[in-house]
Amino acid sequence: MNGTIPAPTIEYAQLAPMLVVFGAAIVGVLVEAFAPRYLRSAIHVPITLLSLAGAFALTIWQVVKGVPTKPAAMGAVAVDGPSLFIWGTILVLAFVSVMLINDEGHFVAAAAAVPGSAEEEQALHEGAGHTEVYPLALFAVGGMLLFPAANDLLVMFVALEVMSLPLYLLCGLARRRRLLSQEAAVKYFLLGAFSSAFFLYGTALLYGYAGSIDLAKISTSLSVIGGQETLLYIGVAMLGVGLLFKIGAAPFQAWKPDVYQGAPTPVTALMASGTLVAAFGALLRVFWVALGGLDWDWSPVLWAVAILTMIVGAILAITQTDIKRMLAYSSIAHGGFLLVGVVATGAAAGQNSKALSAILFYLVAYGFTTVGAFAVVTMVRDAGGEAWHLSRWAGLGKRSPLLAGIFAFFLLAFAGIPLTSGFFGKYAVFQAAVSGGALPLVIVGVVASAVAAFFYVRVIVLMFFSDPSADGPSVVLPSRGTAAVVGVAVLATVFLGVYPQPVLHLAQNAAQSLFIR
């Protein structure tokens, strides 16, 4: 028969980091199925951490060996400089987030057990507890790795779903404030599905226009095909909606505060760092590889989105009274600042790599600081669990000066004060935007930063200059894992703020090769 299907060629070496993570996730599922309850946690934690570390080592190995110049797996996955940089970032951030997840007391033990009740005690004693959080987290991380590296739109869609579905579940597993958590999960799921539909519809329209879902082929068809721009424009816009939703750009940001607030805080840390990095990677790839020839078309629209995102994020954060919601809005504002960098692309190749390296650096800097900030949030607790309301944080600086000092430091990094990583992130992105001709956007960005600085500093003032209330929350002694996460985040924030060159250099090298087609 002539109809034999040729076996696809797969470059296993290039895909190894992803394969390790996915493989470990599947082993995790098997552990859930076969290992006795009381052993599961003890098996999961090393598997999860080791696989992430191994994947990171393999990523480094790829870089050392030489960055591939051709897409792998029949053109489906592009392992190029930016991909590898993003992989490394995601893997490190995922590693520290898993260390937070590992800390007890964040996840529900048994669905029907009230926190602190005898039933929960019983369930915990039996070794119940939702140990599936580890394989779920691994699947999500695997999706995050594939998402920015996907070289055709369908693979990208699959990656989007692989990344999102476990996160929907993870959001609903909080031990305390269960209704809020479950509500967050359902909201995230519904809206995520809604936006995925946009993404898929956009893919279909682009396929209709170009006759291919391959990013490179879409790009070449831009110059060939004429007369069907309607399909193209609607397709691009729909695709954009799907991607901008994941970033949390306005007007698609509404899910972010609710979900960030409801989700267990370690999961929020994973989403706020890893998902954001992955989504920006994918956005950059789509807009460069597929739509590079269109940049003069999409940039005005992105201008508007970036401005709106910065303004909405900064202004809405001002009136927040909940620390997690405030950090969510801050994350929206930072998404806006990053979009300024995305807008700055589109000119000459040198300009592109400059903007790209700025974005990559920003993502690393922001990722570490945000994981650290959420780790601090997990440590400030009262009888009802984590104390989220800002009024509860009053006078924290007098009770636990070290922790409050660290949190203040993270907030200053968010605000972009010199000698913190946030300063160089913002500086690099804004500078790239200025030399890319987006000066008005940078002015809006600086004004938004000033507004944002207000609510960061307000928390610092609250912590250090108000009197603590008598029944204020206490700071729990951190477990080793959480303490290590906070330590790593502080070190990274200081290091990138004082000695940014190595990471900047790495980002520049990654950006030099640009995205391969």
Partner: protein
């Protein structure tokens, strides 16, 4: 002769000279973060880090001597901070290495001394952490190869001095003194910051190299403005008029702090700045003139204050002001004065640290009594302290063949050649120095015992006396070593340039003899009043002049009348204006943002359906916009 070119360098000890800064910084970090766990060995770690830093400095110095004189300016680039604008780099040249050796050597001795001095303080570990932090900051200041790095060190020194002056923060006076030092320094720092901004705006570079190249290129450069702004910064750190008021109060800190910060190192930062910015100052006669005037005014003011203080540390602080005034005077003269300014700075670092630590030793023996009227006759019970202090004293008044004789005389001679009025005023200052330093020694070590009933003075332990002995050896020999044969001037010349004609040392010049005579008159006068005569335990009311000096020449009153009261009026006016005018604008802006925040917040209803609607509308607008933009 112009300064030599800077040669980029890597490898060897010079390439690793960042260790000089990193080691004490690491020590401070470990001691501050390690908390009580490091209490046991904290002081030893602090000493070890400081000594290690000195070893690195000494090795770098040896390596530097291996190069030909014209190649002794080595730049060590570490990394780009902001590409194209700011680099992090070090400059190892004769000037900076001289400072490094002084800071780390005297600093280490003071660390060692503090082991004994602070032995009974429960917070000794924290004290050593701050000392290490201070040494690191001061090294950043002198090692940076650009003004930004200098500024970082400058502020670090300010912070460390704030922490150390207010170390005994439970005493309100110490807390107030720390605040005063910080605020007065802010005035100077403000000038320095604007000066650096101006430098960047003019030369588009912050590095010393870039500035030198910019000057060589020419064009219209606001030399005088930059020079005066930098001088304002220098006045703050070096306690020169009109920003001198903090130094006397800063004696509230533990005595080793006074020795380290307010004698040997921190106050010398201003002199360093002026000498390092030589290319700028040499291009502007006005700024140079102002520097010399400030120097002379301060050297006289400090000396006059010193004559009337009964507090041993404050008398020494007045003398520090005065001696820094001498250095400033020399630094304002130009290449002819630079070497003498720095040489005097080094010898002063030794003999003043010696005397401050000696004063600390006396206080240690006398239950922390600082009033000299309650000392007297201590030479017999504290022989080592007495002899070392005596050497420091002879050095500072310029007793022949001791350190001060060579370095201070050099400054006076140079000033005399530069401008006779300045020169004679400097001679007068030396005479007053002879008086007030003799008064101090006679009141403390000679005469009858005027001790409090419960005082049982004793010699200090060896860990405190050995630093004194080493410092006093330096006070004896260093001056001759540096000045004779113009050794130091020739060594320094690649960094700061050199006058066309090297000065020669005349032991019996008119100026020198006049100085010696005046010093002798001062000393004899002091003996008559405080040595042979009875010193009353309660200070007599004294004449108008005494009160004038006791009240620090009304410096605080002047500040209060000229700055604080008008300042208060100004703030009141500003508050009034702010409430009526600015606030209206600002508040309405804030209200606008807050209000729109509140209104926008209502969109966040919590209902998924409305979120989905917003996504849908957003998508529709996006599609429409794309369509419109694309079809334009």
């Amino acid at each position: 002769m112009e300064p030599a070119e800077i040669i980029q360098h890597s490898g060897g000890v010079i390439g690793a000279s960042w260790l000089m800064i990193a080691l004490p910084l690491l020590g401070a970090a470990v001691l501050l973060l390690g908390g009580r766990r490091t209490d046991k060995f904290g002081h030893l770690l602090g000493v070890a880090m400081s000594v290690a830093s000195f070893v690195v400095a000494a090795l770098a110095f040896i390596q530097l001597l291996g190069f030909a004189p014209g190649e002794r300016r080595r730049g060590v680039e570490l990394y780009d901070l902001i590409p194209g604008i700011a680099k992090v780099g070090l400059l190892i040249d004769p000037l900076s290495i001289s400072f490094c050796l002084l800071i780390t050597f005297v600093g280490s001795l003071i660390h060692i001394y503090s082991i004994g001095y602070m032995a009974h303080d429960p917070a000794r570990r924290r004290f050593f952490a701050y000392l290490n932090l201070f040494v690191a900051a001061m090294l950043v200041l002198v090692l940076a190869d650009n003004y930004l790095g200098l500024y970082v060190g400058w502020e670090g020194v300010g912070l460390a001095s704030y922490l150390l002056i207010g170390f005994w923060q439970h005493k309100p006076t110490a807390a107030a003194a720390a605040k005063k030092a910080f605020i007065v320094n802010r005035v100077g720092d403000f000038g320095l910051a604007i000066g650096i901004f101006t430098i960047f705006a003019t030369f588009h570079s912050l590095s010393y190299q870039g500035v030198a190249e910019g000057i060589a290129k020419g064009g219209s450069i606001p030399f005088t403005a930059i020079g005066l702004l930098l001088l304002l910064g220098a006045c703050g750190k070096s306690a020169q008029l009109p920003l001198q008021s903090w130094l006397l109060d800063a004696m509230e800190g533990p005595t080793p702090v006074s020795a380290l910060i307010h004698a040997a190192t921190m106050v010398t930062a201003g002199v360093y700045l002026v000498v390092r910015s030589g290319p700028i100052f040499q291009a502007t006669d006005t700024a140079q003139l102002v520097v010399t005037i400030v120097g002379v005014a301060t050297l006289l003011a400090g000396a006059i204050i010193g004559t009337a203080k009964d507090d041993i540390k404050k008398a020494l602080a007045g003398s520090t002001m005065s001696q820094i005034g001498y250095m400033m005077l020399a630094a304002g003269i130009g290449p002819a004065g630079y070497a003498f300014a720095i040489a005097h700075l080094i010898t002063h670092g030794f003999f003043k640290a010696d005397m401050f630590l000696g004063a600390g030793s006396v206080m240690h023996a006398m239950n922390d009594e600082v009033n000299m009227r309650k000392y007297g006759g201590l030479r017999k019970v504290m022989p080592i302290t007495f002899v070392t202090f005596l050497i420091g004293y002879l050095a500072i008044i310029g007793f022949p063949l001791l350190s001060g004789y060579f370095t201070k005389d050099g400054i006076i001679e140079t000033a005399m050649e530069h401008n006779a009025i300045l020169g004679w005023l400097a001679v007068l200052g030396a005479g007053i120095t002879g008086f007030y330093m003799s008064r101090l020694v006679f009141m403390t070590f000679f005469g009858k015992k005027r001790w409090e009933a419960d005082a049982h003075p004793h010699e200090s332990p060896a860990v405190m006396t050995w630093p004194l002995i080493i410092l006093s050896i330096g006070a004896v020999v260093l001056g001759a070593f540096l000045v004779l044969g113009n050794r130091f001037m020739i060594f320094l010349s690649p960094a700061v340039g050199q006058p066309e004609e090297l000065p020669s040392f005349h032991p019996f010049s008119v100026t020198g003899l006049a100085t010696l005579a005046l010093v002798a008159v001062g000393a004899v006068f002091a003996w008559m009043r405080y040595g042979s005569a009875e010193v009353p335990v309660v200070a007599p009311r004294g004449s108008f002049l005494t009160t004038f000096a006791r009240r620090d020449l009304y410096g605080d009153a002047l500040n209060e009348a000229l700055l604080m009261r008008p300042g208060q009026w100004l703030t009141r006016l500003a508050v009034f204006f702010d409430n009526r005018g600015v606030d209206g604008l600002v508040n309405s802006l804030a209200a606008l943002i807050g209000g729109s925040s509140g209104r926008l917040r209502r969109i966040q209803t919590g209902f998924v359906r409305s979120y989905a609607l917003s996504i849908f509308v957003g998508a529709a607008v996006l599609v429409g916009a794309w369509f419109v933009v694309g079809n334009l």
